[in-house]
Symmetry: C2
DNA sequence: CGCTTCGCTGAAAATCCTTACAGCACGGTA
DNA sequence: TACCGTGCTGTAAGGATTTTCAGCGAAGCG
């Protein structure tokens, strides 16, 4: 049988209240007393039961994180970063993987985090009004990563500006017929990025006095296959684009494959730029927009922890993105350009 | 203020014991009574406090999962699968990301899962005797994924056989000078696969009456860069290999890059086979050994849940791997072979 | 020297459930 | 009719902490 606080109290010759205080490092405990307690606890190999502690204190020392998918690179990266911050601070991470729009609906109706977390992190979801309302009933600090909402903490990048960065790069290389492979802005999962990146794309073109040709905007559904299919459509156009901006690296990979399978070269015939700086982007020599993924996770977790410590007004942090130029837009000593 | 069980009892006109029983679907409750309680609970928007329930029942409804890294493809995939099974069963998932050997040591000395989970899943770690002992003090069902230990549940593949599959494929193509790019068998994180895959590699060679040339065995540390560096070494040998077996797809990617950068072709000059069937393996046209990643996660989670339901003897399940032939070993209509 | 303050400690209430056990009404059995 | 089992329900005892409040001795102050 595992030791209880009473055993420790007995062994240390103090009351359980003092044990509790000592073990949690609260003030108002004499140093000698604390040492006795710590010694006794070590001797008995005692750790407090978190459930009893949580029940009594009303604090759960747990943060819930809600992701659309765990297994995609971006979310896994975020998860790792958040976990590191939380565990360091003695918090547990309760993972909720939505997986599908049904999963999403279930989450927001059942709200399985009720009465069991101190804060919630929502990753990459554009929330509906109903969902916001549901979260508000929790009366907890809410953090959003990759999106923002008044009243919630948020850490994100400026997708509009980032998309402009990408398109401007292509423009600077002399491209004027630039296609877009993006996510579905009507997707039931309602990711935030597609809207903003589309906006940025169009704004950049307009700013360069180019007309926006909607036939150059295709859906790639954030997958390699989707990107490949979208590129095939683009290649079939009467006047094909000379460059493509894909809203994710995966879609860019697909696009590159389609281009090469069609017997064309990247970047000579068609330049390709992606988004994210996925871990394999360097490998595939893909020009892309790098966003600080882990850092966003660290920041949102830290912000929430701070707000739990002493309640503060929600903050909105926008981190910078960076253009990473590789061989898919600029001819260089690249692996595939060589071969 | 959130409703408590007492409020529900009052509204339904029953005792709290009956509320508890009704809400948990226990038998020995009259149907009409149960309906009254459910109605009252819905009306008050009541959910039981999990911490109170856990304290009272002694069950945590939580499973701990220990992974060396979250952000690597394999572990993210496992995590997603395990989460799906557990959440479906009403269990929480407590994630522990080791990150480094210090993190590992901390985990096994502190044992942060103590008193807070009903079972533990260990992913891809070869445990030391001390670690096994530490886990045993928990007196909980332990599940291992990617490794096995007497007394613990396990789900895994047969790495020896899988490695033989890989090498035999190369042998069948006529290769006789086959190199290995592997993980460090002395790695402080002590992953299981490197040992077994090395063994399989050597066994396959010996079975083909080839001598094992240790100068053909190089360390790639399971990263792209490591694989690239290892391949560079191999290319510098007086008599270079005609094929390479990399113990992971990432290392295979690095190897392919090194080969191409050296002006050689894959597979004509050097064939490459990887391991895992990473999500980008198809994209890079890499021949590889596919292992059922998500399924391993599902199986180990299910096994543990079953054992919590009624204690059973630990099981050891070995799943099949599959050779997936692509353009990196066999000349075909591949992207890069074309260009 | 008497009174306040301070530092520390302990008793006990509070947290919100689960569950063993007792009990009650009712129908069936001998 | 007396008794017994059955099917439900309620009472109350935990479960293991945290936290409030009271209290005690010693030190500081005038």
């Amino acid at each position: 049988m595992a030791a209880s606080i009473e055993d420790v109290a007995k062994l240390a010759g103090v009351s359980i209240a003092t044990v509790s205080r000592s073990l949690r490092g609260l003030p108002d405990v004499a140093a000698t007393t604390r040492d006795k307690v710590l010694a006794a606890a070590r001797e008995l190999d005692y750790v407090a039961s978190p459930f009893a502690a949580r029940l009594a204190s009303g604090r759960s020392s747990t943060v819930g994180i809600v992701v659309p998918f765990v297994h995609r690179w971006f979310f896994a990266e975020v998860l790792g970063a958040v976990e590191a911050v939380l565990s360091q601070a003695g918090y547990d991470l309760l993972l909720h993987n939505l997986g599908s729009s049904e999963g999403r609906e279930r989450f927001f109706t059942v709200l399985p985090v009720r009465k069991r977390v101190d804060a919630v992190i929502i990753v990459s979801l554009a929330l509906t009004e109903d969902e916001v309302e549901a979260l508000n009933t929790l009366e907890l600090p809410i953090g959003m990563l990759g999106a923002a909402h008044p009243g919630f903490f948020s850490v994100r990048i400026d997708d509009v500006t980032a998309a402009k960065q990408a398109v401007n790069h292509l423009l600077s290389l002399g491209h004027t017929r630039i296609a877009l492979i993006g996510g579905d802005t009507d997707d039931p999962m309602r990711f935030t990025p597609p809207h903003h990146r589309l906006t940025g794309y169009e704004q950049a073109l307009r700013a360069a006095d180019l007309t926006v040709d909607h036939s150059l905007e295709r859906l790639g559904y954030f997958t390699v296959e989707g990107g490949e299919a979208a590129m095939l459509e683009l290649l079939g156009l009467p006047e094909r684009p000379t460059a493509v901006f894909a809203e994710s690296d995966e879609m860019a990979y697909g696009a590159m494959r389609a281009i090469r399978r069609a017997g064309l070269r990247v970047p000579e015939d068609i330049g390709v730029i992606g988004f994210d700086d996925h871990s394999t982007a360097a490998l595939l020599d893909l020009t892309t927009i790098r966003q600080p993924v882990a850092e966003q996770g660290v920041r949102i977790a830290a912000a929430l922890l701070a707000s739990l410590h002493d309640p503060i007004e929600p903050t909105d942090l926008v981190l910078d993105t960076e253009l990473v130029i590789r061989g898919s837009t600029v001819k260089a000593a690249s692996v595939y350009a060589e071969s």
